[in-house]
Symmetry: C2
Amino acid sequence: MTKELPFNKEKLDKILEQYPTPFHIYEEKAIIENAKRFLKAFEWNKDFKEFFAVKATPNPFILKILKEVGFGADCSSLTELLLAEKTDITGEEIMFTSNNTPAEEYEKARELNAIINLDDISHIPFLAEHGGIPNLISFRYNPGSRREGNFIMGNPSEVKYGFTKKQIFIGLKELDSKGVQRFGLHTFIASNQLDLQYFVDTAEMMFKLAVEVKERLNIRLEFVNIGGGIGIPYHPEEEAVDLELMGRGIKLKYEEIIKGNNLHPLAVYMECGRMITGPYGYLVSKAIHKKDIYKKHIGLDASMNDLMRPGIYDAYHHITVMGKEEEAKTETYDVTGSLCESIDRFAVDRKLPKIDVGDTFVIHDTGAHGHAMGFNYNGKLRGGELLLREDGQVIEIRRAETVEDYFRTLDFEKLKKFKQ
Amino acid sequence: MTKELPFNKEKLDKILEQYPTPFHIYEEKAIIENAKRFLKAFEWNKDFKEFFAVKATPNPFILKILKEVGFGADCSSLTELLLAEKTDITGEEIMFTSNNTPAEEYEKARELNAIINLDDISHIPFLAEHGGIPNLISFRYNPGSRREGNFIMGNPSEVKYGFTKKQIFIGLKELDSKGVQRFGLHTFIASNQLDLQYFVDTAEMMFKLAVEVKERLNIRLEFVNIGGGIGIPYHPEEEAVDLELMGRGIKLKYEEIIKGNNLHPLAVYMECGRMITGPYGYLVSKAIHKKDIYKKHIGLDASMNDLMRPGIYDAYHHITVMGKEEEAKTETYDVTGSLCESIDRFAVDRKLPKIDVGDTFVIHDTGAHGHAMGFNYNGKLRGGELLLREDGQVIEIRRAETVEDYFRTLDFEKLKKFKQ
């Protein structure tokens, strides 16, 4: 099976003349179309909002594209808040969903008037001290054993996130009594989930919680944020989540539970990252070595620094060898990077056409949790990020790292004077 | 069980007055004593050399300390070569053990006159083209199914490293015929191994290979490099490798095989990283949140950015809570960081004394593969590195990352002009 690409070999070769490998390249047009398709699936909900999970692709050019479509930003750290600010995303366009939050992060979030989504009941007094309690506040709900998680996320009752149900009610009551007027609730309990029913179930859980909050506390929520976690088809055999069908499934639950309990209108929020940009980013790399020992290995000029998921999660990323798309996949290779680390590989026992040194590899679905997760282990430098514009032009939206970047936290003058 | 620390609460509190958490701190005295103990275990081998695996702790201050003791540097990338150069470690004090090597790295290694340890037979013509074949050269041997690997390293026949046995002989013969005069052989097949017999077996394997090389090719090796991989006792219940006993075990094999075949003198080289610095580094962090949901969680101001091993490998790192060393471990906690990532944790179900916010946590054995492996995922910044000098003074040997560092590859002026 194959996967489509926004460029052919000729077009990519042109790009390579200007930008040496390795780099990630994102397709603006597909990102925008996909973002619009996502919003369309929820147009039945007047105040629906998607807050893009910045951690997936913390590039301000990408944030700016998504802002134009109408997305906000889901931030989880100080630098992510600063990135949003630099992209003119402020106020309630920011959902600050953090955990184990340092004081300075709450202070910055409050300064930007972001929506604060508290991770723990103990953060109520902590936020009061560091930034102050705003008039709109959200809690993250962890359903514990009421729901099952998945591989990446772990079981809800095992992970560090959120309030218990009991704490949700205690916290809401406390803040209500303190005069807070606007409330939302949030949950996020699965990651890279391809079964749309999971999200319908999550919406149902949150709608029911909104009803219970109304009934028990007489608090009418302004929104429920059902989080992100929509998966993408890394394998060509997998199918993407049908957004329209998912939107309709959630709408049915909304009508039954929210309208049925006179809680309409209630805004539905999401904070997807992976499905927004993941399929529209590609890691481009050149084969620099072929190795034939107990197995056959192809060495690329990218390493796990540029893409950690195969190494850390054993994740599948599809590979297209440019110009050899139609050739028979007669060979079996491990495709590796150059770290002194056995897990530094992009594919294990992958069927591919016969590879020559110099072949261009396109590794698919690196538009989210790709560049963002890379480290500098072994002193390896990460490539940059390019954007393929709607008009076919290519611009650099993050330069590659340099040796100077790598050494920037070291003081070599001090080293000269350093004696045993 | 407990683990010793080079400071008590009072001393550490003094350090904290000057340096905010989180940071890694290394103990110079213990590193030097350990390094000397290591060399002593091999003093029977006149030309024994340890090349410190720079990737473990790529800090030039550490390299300088080890250079004074007599260590060289095992480098695997361009920046590691540059770090060695900046520390005045050059020539045959550098072992360049890389894999899937980019051309520029070989060129730099040749410029520095480093010992080149080729990872693959195809690198012979590649090196000839990029830097040229030196007069002293080494090959990395991968024994395949002849040896078993371990968890971190994988089975030798599955991993990307080294020459097959057949290739070793083909390669040596080829270079010998081309006039190369000095040869070494290398292997590295396990990581974090605590059984000293493993290293005796590896030395035996390499000694026998040296004999076979002499017999079949009439080439007398100058050294065998038995790699690194000596483990450290992360668990207080584990015992460190008895270096003296290991040295004696290898000496017996040397006498039997090398002297017994008239190949004395043959230099023995190693390239350990973890056991050189690992036990003498500590990640110091403060508890900033306590959370009580389905489990009890303690949130630190460090995150997996500062220490990846527990998250990626589920690795155990011992924890001391300063000032509570003698208290009963009555509580069970998960100890977490602040990333939106379930695996961002330092300990799961750890028995600890009752924790208060503000408690200082010392996470042990972070002196190798600690700071070096950290990433900036979620936009989180890494702390710095301190050195506790032999005279009790503390100096900063790497500053903490700043927001400016994190944004350094982005062009915000370009962003302003960026329009859809």
